[in-house]
């Protein structure tokens, strides 16, 4: 009996999940470096429903589609709008699915797409969440941070202010399957088995994109697109409830056949 309601119920439920992802995206409209999420649906394979016999009229076996299921969410790793901040230590990666490694306070390695680099008490380069840039870069005593070159080289101004020296280089990390990464909040991503073995590279070399400094990557959530999705999800939800109601009416008619 419940199977009869399932197609419509699964449809309404799928739209609820879609609404959840839209709400999540909209909530992160202003989160720098956020990547929009999309709910992914797939049709449930048909099941044998009716094997009925009405006099000579044998109905079936009939395979009727069984609804829809949510198979997960995917992230859209497209570049968000870029804002020029002028701060040379605002770092953004121009390749949509490249990351820079950082080490959290508990030793865990996490990955970031963007962030503002600054110094901790020991002169090491850290991101705004306190995580250490990997491989680590330490500012030599008496020098001052100067700039980050497109190839990731970090320059410091020498003590006498007359020149600059390279003090380290930012390395990029890429995963075969970035969809497998775990979003851990605060702009952090964690590696998983599904994401595959990370490979590292130098910005600007071969297929590796250069890094951008002095710019900040905003959330790639597109407001108009999300609002359109919202309207469509609401319409689809209503239509599925309508189907549910209709099926229910038919069942009621059947039960009232014998009065």
């Amino acid at each position: 009996m419940e199977a009869l309601y399932f197609p419509a119920v699964s449809g309404a439920r799928a739209q609820q999940v879609r609404l959840d992802t839209i709400a999540h995206n909209l909530a992160n409209l202003e989160t720098d470096g956020f990547k929009a999420v999309r709910a992914e649906f797939a049709a449930v394979p048909p099941q044998q429903y009716l094997v009925a016999r009405a006099g000579e009229a044998v109905l079936g076996p009939v395979r009727v589609g069984a609804g829809v299921e949510v198979i997960g969410t995917t992230r859209q790793y497209t570049l968000g709008p870029i804002e020029v901040t002028g701060d040379p230590f605002d770092l953004t990666l121009s390749g949509p699915d490249t990351f820079v490694a950082t080490q959290l306070a508990d030793g865990t390695i996490a990955y970031r797409r963007s962030g503002r680099l600054s110094l901790d008490g020991a002169g090491r380069l850290i991101f705004e969440d306190g995580s250490l840039l990997q491989p680590p870069v330490t500012l030599p005593a008496g020098t001052q941070l100067d700039r980050i070159a497109p190839d990731g080289t970090i320059y410091a101004r020498t003590a006498d202010g007359t020149g600059t020296q390279a003090i380290g280089q930012i390395q990029l990390v890429r995963f075969p399957n970035p969809q497998g990464l775990l979003a851990a909040g605060q702009g952090r991503w964690l590696a998983t088995e599904a994401a595959g073995q990370p490979e590292t590279g130098i910005p600007g070399e071969a297929t590796w994109p250069p890094v951008l400094s002095g710019v900040r990557e905003h959330s790639n959530v597109d407001l108009v697109d999300q609002m359109t999705q919202l309207i469509m999800a609401q319409r689809a939800y209503t239509a599925n409830l309508r189907a549910l109601q209709t099926i229910d009416e038919l069942i009621e008619i059947a039960t009232r056949l014998r009065q």
Binding site: F41, P45, L59, G65, I71, A236
Partner: protein
């Protein structure tokens, strides 16, 4: 009289199954690559009546007994192409399917939400390898471009071509898990279908048409239910009243 009851019941069942198919289509209104299922309700096989008289059979005409519910057909009409900007979203324009290697053999799909798995193979959203003309496609790191003819380029180098198969119009497609279809028909590489990178093919379910069909199915069902009740009522009168000898 009994026949009317059976016919009406058959009508109700057929309309109910149609309603389930319509519900399923509505549930998949946002499923990329989904092809709506079309219910086919048709007259039950017609019978040819013969009257026997004096050992001679005289044809009197045909009689249709009920309705019959057939397997829903897959409506392969093109869905709208929707831009997503995701480089691994691929949509087919034209009459062809992507081939997917699954444990149950090769299956076919129009759902081009592809990904790269941990072994760098191009896979479907649920992780099965997408087939190129030379088997599964393994993609190098970095950006890839997909040409309209299905050729995949990394930089300037072609690393394979998607297998785009076309099936005869009467091929029976069976929907299986993951938006894929199975068929016994033999596919041939398509000469006409094109691939659009950064697009997905939306479900081809037509909301307005589906809701209208739902109304029609409900009305037909109600009508059949009413017919059944009337037949039952008539039968009741016949059983209870005819042949009763008046006491008055």
């Amino acid at each position: 009289m009994i026949r009317t009851i059976y016919e009406a019941a058959a009508g109700m069942m057929a309309q109910f199954a149609r309603q389930l198919t319509l519900s399923t289509n509505l549930a998949n209104i946002d499923t990329p690559g989904y092809k709506q299922q079309e219910s086919t309700i048709r007259d039950f096989q017609q019978m040819f009546l013969l009257r026997l008289a004096n050992g001679q059979a005289n044809p009197v005409g045909t009689l249709s007994t009920a309705v019959r519910w057939d397997q829903p057909r897959v409506d392969t009409r093109q869905g709208a192409l929707v831009e997503t900007g995701r480089p691994l979203d691929l949509a087919i324009a034209g009459n062809a399917f992507f081939a997917v290697q699954t444990p149950d053999g090769v299956e076919y799909t129009r759902d081009g939400r592809f990904q790269i798995d941990a072994q760098r193979r191009l896979v479907t959203a649920d992780g099965y390898p997408v087939l190129g003309e030379q088997g599964p496609l393994v993609l190098p790191p970095g950006d890839i471009w997909v040409e309209p003819d299905g050729t995949i380029l990394a930089g300037d180098q072609a690393i394979g071509r998607l297998l785009l198969l076309e099936f005869p119009p009467d091929a029976e497609l069976t929907l299986v898990a993951g938006n894929r279809y199975r068929t016994d028909a033999q596919g041939v590489p398509s000469q006409t279908a094109g691939v659009s990178q950064g697009f997905i093919e939306a479900s081809n379910v037509d909301l307005t048409q589906t809701l209208t069909d739902m109304l029609a199915a409900t009305r037909s069902y109600q009508l059949a239910a009413r017919t059944l009740q009337l037949a039952d009522e008539t039968l009741r009168l016949a059983v209870n009243s005819v042949g009763r000898i008046s006491q008055g």
